[in-house]
Amino acid sequence: MSVQFPTLRGKAWLLGDNISTDLLSPGPYVHAPNQERLRHVLEAVRPDFAPQVQSGDLVVAGRNFGCGSSRESAPQHLKDLGVAAVVAESFSRIFARNAIAIGLPVLTCAGVRQRVRDAEEIAVDVVSGAVVLSDGTALAAERIPSEMLTVLSNGGIVPMLRAIAQGHAPAAE
């Protein structure tokens, strides 16, 4: 199966280990309007992130990114702020599933946090897993399984749900 996905190029926001869902989507604002919630994304560790992140920017982080809650707002807030993909040394499994479900690419890349500088312009090939640094060096992220790539290239699960609603996709059993 061949899945098309454009190469992502953007500025890297470098974050540490254990970036939790409480940092990405703080509980006190759970029912606040989305614009207000977006203002608080990562405010405790990168207060410059929410005001300055640009559409197409990339997040690069250390171990256990997205640990904590099942709240889908964690990846959704990053997507709403324009983040094109997250590359981290490892992900919490719920965050990774949620990210794919909403169409935000997440790539696991050993040692990436030590290799990328904050604000460096990098490129990410979601299909091959290549993470290309500004000096041309390519790091190899784990390849995303083809089933997940299909979900990503469709923009997440919602289009699949619309197809089910219209009787185009087999509901199980």
Binding site: T21, G27, S70, E72, L161, A172
Partner: protein, 410 residues
Amino acid sequence: MTWAEQILAAKSGRDRVQPGEYVVARLDGFMMHDIFAADVLGLLDEVGIARLHDPERVTVVFDHMVPPPSVAAAAHQRKARELAIRYGIRHFHEMGRGVSHQVMVEEQRVQEGDLVVATDSHTTTYGGVGAISTGIGSTEMAYALATGTLWFKVPESVLIRLEGGFAEGTSGKDLILALMQIVGSDVAQARSLEFRGPGAASLTISNRLTVCNMGVEMGAKFAVFPPGAQEPQEASYVARYTVDLATLQPMVAIPHHVENVRPVAEAAGTRIDQVFIGSCTNGRLQDLRDAASLLAGRRVAPGVRLIVVPASREIYRQAASEGILEALSAAGAIVEGPGCGPCFGGHMGLLAPGERCLGTHNRNFQGRMGSPDAEIYLASPLTAAATAIAGEIADPRVLLRELAAKEVSR
């Protein structure tokens, strides 16, 4: 096969499954709470899916923002209530019934051998009754409710053999906190933690629920006490650990991560502003009994707020009939109605900058309970009670020994 492999094979209609394979599995149960039920059902409504695959298997529990602290929360809950009725969800539990995970167990909405998903990371809790269960997000839940199925990557399993029995002053919370360090997320991430051995067989259901609840804090997909203390001979585990329960001591997780665990004795003397006893981790009857065993006849230290939230209405009523709530209130506690309380940082005890809270809950990430400049410590109900009395982090064994000495001299 391991327990997780056995269940995933059965639910995906196969004789065998291997770790790393992707399977589409039939789900036995689905749970949503008040934060996400409206999002999930609203999404189904928006895309035009009018019927759930099997509404009988769906449970909704209002436990997080209860009673609603804002107009926005009240409106969100009204929407969820209306949609639950429209989608024919009969197993709907209004605010006051308790924390969803405790309610699922009390109402027997989850059984040994089941595969269950819920819109909450602490869904791993049901491993305490032999189910494999895990948290998912809103969009995946919408898909699961529409089709009755979900894809899973068959996880590798980690065997944790428990031996012996708990020493004085320790419980399931001290075990799971110790495991945060012994195993940790580098080993447990996306894997199934399988608890076996004579120590596992002797653990109470309450302690099993506590242990499985926090399995997710090291990233585990499932955490489960299967029936039978002995692992199947042909089962393959990616890592094996043996823990002698008798060697455990009271443990505490210090800010700002659950894996920053050390013996309570090493953090003793740290000044505390607030103590919270409750949550899906440690708001059960035995937890309240443990707290009352130290707090009855004593007072919370001046300057300390003690917030107690029983995990369910049944626990609340039993604790009331045993005089536990009276004893805790007399000691100076605020006893709140059943629910999640301040655990997730929505209301009922948020922290100011610079404040410190020690709680029996499950997560101490920066910003979890209010100000990002506050600090959260996690420990057992006995340690929480001893800390509330002392006004600083305290090893409960000191008070327990005093109590025991009084018993002898009487």
